[in-house]
Symmetry: C2
Amino acid sequence: MTQPRDGLVADIGEFGLIEELRPIFSQPDDVVVGPGDDAAVVKMAGGRCVVSTDLLLEGRHFRRDWSSAEDVGHKAAAANLSDINAMGGRGTSMVIGLGVPGSTPLEWVRDLARGFADETAEVGASVLGGDVSAADSVVLSVTVLGACEGEPVLRSGARPGDVVAVCGRLGWAAAGFHVLGRGFRSPRVVVEAHRRPEVPYDAGPEAASLGATALIDVSDGLLADLGHVARASGVGVDVRSDAFGLDEPLQAVGAALGVDPLAFVLTGGDDYALAATFAPDVRLPDRWRVVGAVGEGEGVTVDGEEYAESTGHQHFA
Amino acid sequence: MTQPRDGLVADIGEFGLIEELRPIFSQPDDVVVGPGDDAAVVKMAGGRCVVSTDLLLEGRHFRRDWSSAEDVGHKAAAANLSDINAMGGRGTSMVIGLGVPGSTPLEWVRDLARGFADETAEVGASVLGGDVSAADSVVLSVTVLGACEGEPVLRSGARPGDVVAVCGRLGWAAAGFHVLGRGFRSPRVVVEAHRRPEVPYDAGPEAASLGATALIDVSDGLLADLGHVARASGVGVDVRSDAFGLDEPLQAVGAALGVDPLAFVLTGGDDYALAATFAPDVRLPDRWRVVGAVGEGEGVTVDGEEYAESTGHQHFA
């Protein structure tokens, strides 16, 4: 196979690009048919398949001047694997649709594929194949398949009296996004958190085994996502503002930008932390932090009151 | 739920659009968790999952002025279900990514969803959910899951001495595409064939049960797709030009546009017919037509000679 160091996608065509990318994705034993046929075939233990899909568009969900190709691949894979995590499951397989301008350097596409391969490898999942097309800007569709050991944990099982707990970073990616938006590149840790989230992948199955009554990943922002849980469960959720540790980088960004760092924590998405509800007598491992409680009623409050910035993403607004 | 007859996508936002579309998709008994959670969960018999994904972009894969929204939904679903058909399997579930400009009428998006719902219902499959996003033009990603009763039929099993047979229409969609490209709207049957393919869904499992050695769906064009089979199987394929019935509409379009109608049959994609190879002693049902033979060597010939227009799609060229 040729690897033109400075070639463009347009130089090798659709089939050439597929051949170029295929060796980047290794195929484990549970793959019956890998890339290259009409469809892939994968073994699926337990008789059930968990599935989620995301569409990611350049300029809306990522920027090529803010993130490297590898970052984009990591984050796109992470966002989808996180959805399986949020069911208490584990991602096993992924298929990718890639639309890309012919003027795109091959190196960019290979790096993107490496990001996907590395992030899926973190959970032992594999990329089974996909579809490529010319496009005016980069378009990514990601579909992940996964498995649950037990019953999937839904958004709808929270009960009054339950505690609300979170696991993973909150607000870091949002702080990084705001820093980049102001034209800065530091603090580096939050910029990195925006580019490549650190998803607590094993915390989803852990929450399931701990008896979580509801589970969601924080992609729209904690209050917005707890709002989904409250609505689906027919309950109210109250969060205590003093329950969060305001990590030092968030305080630094807040001070520099004149923003309350708590806003990052409560409304920032894209860290792919988990939020779960548990029966009040649950004993949680250290990395889970109790931040609130479920009650009668509806909606999400902070210290008993409505929070001003709790809307989360509304892409068409 | 409100149904603003003349509303736009921008009026109701991302979550509103999801709520608008959800009731269009019914969920059969094998769906454990349908739309509305972090991921869907579906029962998957046989311990294996067949999966395929496609990315479809407005202006490249469909045109809103050439096809209705329902047509686009039907065809996008059909193209993916056909990939499962081409493994000898049957599609069971689908997830959809939809990028759409805020200025799009809600009615267009509802009709699109109805097209997806109706086409998937033809094989007893269901739409489990998806993702929506604002976009500059319509972007569709379609991922289909399916099941095979027996072993999947790959592209790589054709052996010298096998016969090559096809099932389904060939060239109709291409004739319709050329008619539309010249600004005409008739013959209506070929325009309709371009807009909404008639996929022989049960012929894939049938081919598998008849012992097909290789199987592919004709999406790039018969010669191009047989080329994939020849390459994967390490064989040559020869097609007999007199084996095809040149359907009357193809003759009419050929005469009107000054094109050899055989070119539509041999190089036209998007009808999602099936091409298969079988052992020479196979007894095929009537709808399968033997059109060639597998031999030693490589590549695809027509009446023993190279065919001038055998390149198929090359999207980046």
